[in-house]
């Protein structure tokens, strides 16, 4: 089980590397979907199934929107996949920077394989993530209201940004 979760962690890092190595946005979205699926399986394996479900639904919905935007606005006649030399150069440079940071920071020798999980103790006990997220509506109602107010503010920010070429926040000069 430890190795399975570690395998999902490796898939997560590979998906993020596929985003960060500057391919065309189509393939970047594919890498981010791979990373979100691997992260969802990772959290699900550790036992927090509700948070993993929220992550999966929110990220796949958001990534669908971003994929439509990238198809509509960043269309290229020759998209660059991960096999191109420039993207491979980015991959090599990023891996070298991260591994060099690990070696220079002294993180290499101090490995440990401890993985903690959340266990369910039956159907009559509310598990950790369910009770914690439900606490957002009782104890954490202040942050709940602040987050809702932030979403409402974002609505008006978006409307003001895309208002038009002559009136909004960004104008043609």
């Amino acid at each position: 089980m430890t190795y399975f979760v570690f395998f999902l962690g490796v898939c997560f890092v590979l998906g993020i590397l596929g985003v960060a190595s500057n391919p065309s946005p189509y393939y970047g979205v594919v890498g981010l979907v791979l990373a979100s699926v691997a992260g969802c399986g990772w959290l699900l394996s550790l036992g927090v199934s509700f948070v993993a479900l929220v992550l999966f639904m929110v990220y796949l919905g958001g990534m669908l929107v971003v994929f439509v935007y990238s198809v509509a606005l960043a269309a290229e006649p020759f998209p660059e996949a991960w096999g191109d030399w420039r993207v491979l150069g980015y991959v090599v440079a990023l891996v070298v920077v991260v591994l060099g940071g690990l070696v220079l920071g002294g993180f290499v020798g101090s490995w440990g394989f401890g993985v903690n999980t959340v266990d369910s103790v039956g159907m009559f006990v509310v598990r950790l993530d369910f009770s914690g997220v439900a606490m957002l509506y009782s104890r954490g109602v202040g942050m709940f209201l602040i987050a809702g107010w932030g979403l409402l503010l974002t609505l008006f920010v978006v409307l003001e940004l895309v208002r038009g070429l002559s009136r909004g926040a960004i104008r043609a000069v």
Binding site: F6, V13, N22, G28, L32, V51, Y90, G112
Partner: protein, 98 residues
């Protein structure tokens, strides 16, 4: 540092480096921001799992809300700059050219 901590820390560093390097499209810079948010979400969810703390599990949900705000604003900026500049390439947005 266990391998899972190494996974999300290196994912965060990788996506931050990818944002810092030269990006061709504004969409892929936004994708790097999204992947930073994803690794932060996983890292913040690992914390209550390891400490068995129920009340901390609302923190990644709140952070996901604010990352949705960020993604919406970023896509609005993408649409607006595509309208004013003709394409979403980042070299159009450089301040050093007139």
């Amino acid at each position: 540092m266990s391998p899972l901590h190494l996974s999300f820390c290196s994912a965060f560093v990788l996506s931050g480096l990818g944002l810092a390097f030269h990006r061709t499209h504004l969409v892929s810079a936004l994708l790097c921001l999204e992947s930073m948010m994803l690794s932060m979400f996983v890292g913040l969810t690992m914390w209550p799992i390891e400490n068995q703390t129920p009340s901390f599990t609302m923190v990644p949900i709140i952070m996901l809300t604010f990352s949705a705000c960020e993604a919406g604003t970023g896509l609005a900026i993408l649409v607006a700059s595509t309208r004013t500049h003709g394409s979403d390439h980042l070299h159009n947005l450089s301040l050093l050219q007139c």
